[in-house]
Amino acid sequence: MQPFQETPFSRRKRRNERLAQVVLGGMALAMVIPLLLIVGYLMFKGAPLISLSFLLSNPTHGMREGGLWSALLGTIYLVVMALLVAAPIGVLCAVYLNEYARDNWLTRLIHLAVINLAGVPSIVHALFGLGAFVLFAGLGRSILAASLTLAIMTLPVIIASTKEALASVPMSFREACWNVGASRWQTIWKVVLPNSISGILTGVILQVSRTAGETAPIMFTGAVFFKKIEAGNPFAYALTDQCMALSMHLYTVTTQVTNAPEALPYAIALVLVGAVLAVNATAIWLRSRLRSRKKW
């Protein structure tokens, strides 16, 4: 008699294990296919139009020719402004909620508000932005009003992702700090934040793509179909100006402009996706840099 014998059970177990691996692995692979297809298709259709002058010149001839500088710059302004507002507020808010707030009805109400705000459709944020920033605050339709609207929209998501990053730092670290006479703030500053910063940054940077892609919130609050600015000048917009944006430009060119070259919408989309992927790639690189210093 051999010491290790195959039984029907062990055979079945082995087969199931292999099956699980194949199915799960297949799903993971399938995930990548749409992304590759999208990027590949955009490249195929749009790449011929892409050039440095396409990026740096303004649309001309009723947006049928020229480049997309004014839209690209507008999107950059909107995203940067929105995150400059939303990231610090969101992160500080999350630190308060996760590290300081006591568990009482007010805290629970805030949590509930954050979760529900994250689920509000962007068109509703658009209306809110129109009412609050454009009309009530008197900012008018402007980059400022539009980016504040985007900031309100991303804020709850940043709070949620930051809280998650903070919560991933083991409680025992905090207790060890408190035991040796560190204050809450010293604990947060010296131990909690350094060990959650990669997660916090990832959460914030993921919002870049979301903000860059939105059309609804900016349509009511500051984005326009066409705006003439100086090509190639990165300071061509003032914060009180209205601006063009890639997402909106794509929509315009596809639906409002007749006889636009077939490749144009794809080229615009390619720039949008390319910019977002570039930001995400930076985030991944940064994250792995910070991770390699991570400490447990």
């Binding site: 408190w178 040796v180 006479g181 560190a182 204050s183 010296k190 400490k295 447990w296």
Partner: protein, 254 residues
């Protein structure tokens, strides 16, 4: 011993988490330079008791504390600076916690939090504490590696070094040997015997024999009540006052 006030004096201490009372009026006093053993089964509120001493219990929501705790004659609830109180009491948790910092920073953490910035003083403090914790020789050449990369036993000694780094007058150890090997346990026990000359030690232990080896007096805490408190020889003799003590230390307890 009668003349100087006890290092720690706990009177009728009650603690409740929400509506669940877990300490039901505990009283005891610990004189200076004593090793005071606390034994008792799991869930008898030993850890909770320690957390009352340095007031880290306050980080838990919905707690109710009554009674009084005095350290050096001063009510801990009235100390002007709670961080100073916590520095006076070193605390070692059951599972070793290497903070995700370098070995050096782990030990320098507490002095820095207390405002010490002078490099020489910090270095001297780190070396002293690592020596006291019997870890110096093993790590002196790699003080800048991560504390979390050490073995379990080394991390526990690192934890002890950190607990000593704020020069406490009292050292509380909460089941410190739960996750480490017997050899390391013995080394740490030797360390404790050295330390008792300078500081007061409260040794919470799930190994009754450890209390027997080290403690001058031992308290048997059971379900949040003091069953018996006496000199260790008496507690471990054939005739402690309470039958439950006898059963527990002999190991035939429910």
């Amino acid at each position: 011993m009668v003349t100087s006030p006890p290092k720690i004096e706990v009177r009728d201490l009650r603690l409740a988490y929400g509506h669940k009372e877990v300490l039901h009026g505990v009283s005891f006093a610990v004189p200076s330079h004593e090793i005071f053993g606390i034994i008792g089964p799991a869930q008898s509120a030993k850890t909770s008791l320690l957390r009352c001493l340095n007031r880290t219990i306050e980080f838990t929501p919905h707690i109710h504390v009554s009674g009084s705790i005095r350290v050096d004659g001063q009510d801990v609830r009235r100390v002007p600076d709670v961080y100073e109180l916590r520095r006076k009491i070193g605390m070692v948790a059951p599972l070793p916690v290497g903070l995700p910092l370098s070995i050096y920073d782990n030990v320098a953490f507490a002095p820095r939090c207390a405002g010490l910035t002078n490099r020489q003083e910090l270095e001297a403090r780190v070396e002293k504490c690592l020596r006291q914790a019997a870890l110096w020789d093993e790590v002196k050449d790699r003080l800048d590696t991560l504390g979390t990369k050490l073995s379990g036993g080394q991390q526990q000694r690192l934890t002890i070094a950190r607990a000593l780094s704020h020069e406490p007058e009292i050292l509380c150890l909460d089941e410190f040997s739960i996750a480490i090997d017997p050899v390391t346990t013995m080394r740490i026990e030797d360390v404790l015997k050295e330390l008792r000359r300078e500081i007061t030690i409260i040794l919470v232990t799930n190994l009754t024999q450890q209390a027997r080896r080290l403690a001058d007096r031992t308290m048997f805490l059971w379900n949040g009540e003091v069953v018996e408190l006496d000199r260790t020889e008496v507690m471990f003799s054939d005739s402690p006052k309470d039958r439950r003590t006898y059963d527990y230390v002999q190991g035939n307890f429910g």
